[in-house]
Symmetry: D2
Subunit: 302 residues, 4 copies
């Protein structure tokens, strides 16, 4: 039986590319949905078995809609991550030459990442914002605009061709997508894992953030990402999104989670899953499973 | 001579409201500009004496375009801040009744903040995203849509009227705007000041963020905001935006800045300026100017 | 069957007073031994069931011989503590008047603690050091000296009388004695307990002591005593004697011990036992047993 | 004019050896005094230009009398340190053979450090405590005992000879002596300096010791010694003796001293002086004078 995947649409975006990269044999039936929130609702309703949504971008930062949707759905967990290199082409209808381009549509983020290129190559063109790069490509196919700045994927989806390729001002931009499931247990540890958490600290306690970081430091855990986000309760009220190296089944991570749970106003566990880059980060010798096991047996004997 | 202000347009947004709130006697000539970047370019070019742009919102978080523009222009400083309560009305052309509303336009952020109200009162209406709430109001005035979710300010700008007022799902949302100048010295200390900084830490040094926070903690300085943002150099590379309680002319803040400058990869100082809420935060007795003066004279004598 | 106690002699010192205070019904057979080391050897050999030795003094600090002896005997544990107020009298043979006193003997510590009194009341007297205050009293009884500065206990032991009472320059000095057993399990928790440890840190790791203290701080444990002592391996090589508030059976203390065991070069557990002052120290709400139990059940469910 | 030195006597102790090592050309007139306190009183009275007293020993730890005397005299400073290897010989009157030794006198510290040797070579001998190893040697010369465990220096002073040499159980024990002056400015920095301080923390503030250590850590200063000592005000009241790497004239050390002065109940500065081992400790690149100078000029420009 084919399982169903919901991904943030429309077709032709980098999210579809992430789906293909993850499901390279196309064993799943992938459906675009208009919002991240809807992708998660489908998971919760059992209409999709997995969801693929963008999480953060190396240029633009995290994707607020994804963070919010994850907070809103308690039992949705990250089970995998996918890294996609973000590249942009200038897409036109077949037959259009570059000097015929007067109006270019794209998503504002893509416009920002190709600003230098367009200033040099299309100094006269008017730039029109669209809600996604794929939507821009579609509008080009419909004849609304002359060109779109979008992914190679979008050319295929909408029958366009690339008038110029790889036009991003800065090479190597990456977007990190996450694969979500509902009610899933944490993936088995692989030795190169990441754990994603959200911690809400007590605002009125000076040093509360320092204490939060020390909960990880004393257990030899490095953080690869720390992002403050407003809680919506007022200026100056933040929660912290944390990516920590390691897996919830490791004793050092379990103990750190206990520490957060005890000292924070709230903690949300969003999953332990393999790193997409497969790079195992060294665990300090005093924090690995053997060190914990040895210490525990010593304590037992006391 | 009237001085010129550039603000993020179009007219009728909350930014215009911030301008009016700040310049209540309307002594300045205020001009809307299409982007935050352009507002700063006008400052640098000497075409504007001040710029007013949104900085962060208690629901949506910081405004990436403002943060990026501030990083791009070295000598632009924050000299003041303005807090504006964010409220939304349902704006219609005079004569339209609420049950005639079929299509509602607004900015996606505003849609998100009024979702519960529209689900209850306009369950059948179609929601169309626009690039700003003011642009949505203008389009209603032009007859494109039946209603816009926008500010009271926008009703005045475009000749609309409020069919429903204060429809945000959560009351009390605030947006913090900043007033910028080019080449300006730090504002004089008032006793209730804030200092805004950006610090780039050494990524490969575990504990670097902890050390950064300790630079403030040992000098008795509280942080009211800490926000990580990608540097654009790759996933996992962050800089930290910091709002700290106090003024650069206070010895504790000067010493903390020295500490950051020594230990971080880079530090940007973006200004010391009065808090909009005027609330002086207590300075620990061991960190106030007198404690520093007394300690310095003790050290001199050694 | 009467159990046997070895205590640091000779008879008539404050240690004997500690024995009487602890064993107020005199149910045990108490024997003075010449050194702390011998008291512990008797425990290990099974010739004594308990030992009472001085641990620290509020004026002189810790008692090196006791610390060393505890390190030398692996299975000896502290099971109780006794606080004795240190007071000194000027003891003479019955019939001697104060103006007949030419030569006064005492232990150098006692001389130091009564210096102002003797300068004022016995300005002409010669002070002779003896190996203990009790030995000084005995020598007075034997006719060697005119007076001894010693405890009230010593007067009774050696048939002397107090020519002046409570002559210490600073009132309220306390000595803390410990009751030791061999191979004993930790005493049951009372809610007002102390845990004594010795930690050997990695000298070449800067910040190792800070990390040690953080192992306690993140678990909400206060330290009532921290004392560095040379390890004998060279100048600059220290171990740290620690008294921590709480009992090894509390989860916060267990976790802190695990942390020390993992990160220190060596840790010695010397016992959890009731505080002599009976004062329960408040446990932070995020570190008590309930907080740990709640956090553990949350972690189980993940 | 010959300057006068007071040192802790009697002649023939390791302190005299320290004096000779320091004043190898014997340019000063050295006088033994009975107590450390008296050595300092002579300094203050102008009767001595320098004093040499023992500070700490790698086996026994610090010398309480020296620490107390330094606290009692406000303007006495450490200007130099001298390391002396502690070795013990078995000293006898010329002509005495080792099997004639029945009674051996020495200071209890020396007895402790030669315990294994005496157990093996003089199992039948009676050990008698004396107030110093030199006093024991003198008593041997006077015929009171058969042998003394004392320094080679003592043999020369009292006309004895070594029946056995270098009998300490553990080789390489060192004693650190300090050279004191009254009202002296800090010695000029050499690049390999030490600073000695005493800090009194606020006892009722949990984490106060952690904060004290962070004052050094954030300025990149390592501590080579940290010793808690009772203040005499009650059990659990400590001050901390600190040896820190660096010189008070370095900006990092000056700033750390300011921090201590602001946050501690009291701080005493006891001197910056060259390390006896001449080993410069690496200064972190972010904490050296250049880093401070660069940061200060950056701050000036803000």
């Amino acid at each position: 039986m084919t399982s169903r995947i919901a991904y943030l649409g429309p077709a032709g975006t980098f999210t579809e590319q992430a789906v293909r990269q993850w499901d390279s044999r196309q064993e799943h039936e992938a459906t675009p949905v208009p919002t991240v929130a809807e992708a998660l609702q489908r998971l919760v309703a059992g209409e999709a078995h997995a969801a693929v949504v963008p999480f953060e971008n190396s240029v633009e930062g995290s994707v607020p809609a994804t963070l919010q949707a994850l907070l809103d759905q308690e039992r949705v967990r990250i089970v995998e991550e996918v890294l996609v290199e973000v590249q942009f082409d200038l897409l036109v209808r077949p037959g259009t030459s570059q000097d015929q381009v007067r109006v270019v549509a794209t998503h504002p983020h893509a416009a920002a990442q190709t600003r230098a290129w367009t200033a040099r190559h299309l100094p006269q063109a008017q730039l029109v914002p669209e809600s996604s790069t794929a939507r821009a490509a579609q509008a080009v196919a419909e004849g609304t605009y002359d060109a779109a700045i979008a992914s190679t994927e979008a050319a295929r989806s909408y029958g366009l061709e690339a008038s110029a390729e790889r036009i991003a001002d800065r090479a190597g931009a990456l977007t990190r997508f996450v694969v979500l499931r509902h009610g899933a247990p944490a993936a088995a540890p692989t030795g190169a894992d990441r754990t994603t958490l959200v911690a809400l600290i007590w605002q009125n306690r000076p040093g509360a953030l320092l204490e939060l970081l020390e909960q990880f430091a004393v257990r030899g855990i490095d953080l690869s990402r720390l992002e403050s986000r407003p809680t919506g309760e007022g200026l100056g009220e933040y929660c912290f999104w944390i990516d920590a190296d390691g897996h919830v089944s490791e004793p050092r991570m379990g103990e750190a989670l206990l520490g957060l749970r005890r000292t924070c106003r709230d903690v949300r566990f969003l999953g332990s899953y393999p790193r997409a880059d497969g790079q195992a980060r060294p665990v300090p010798v005093h924090a690995d499973e053997q060190a914990y096991a040895e210490a525990r047996s010593w304590l037992q004997e006391l």
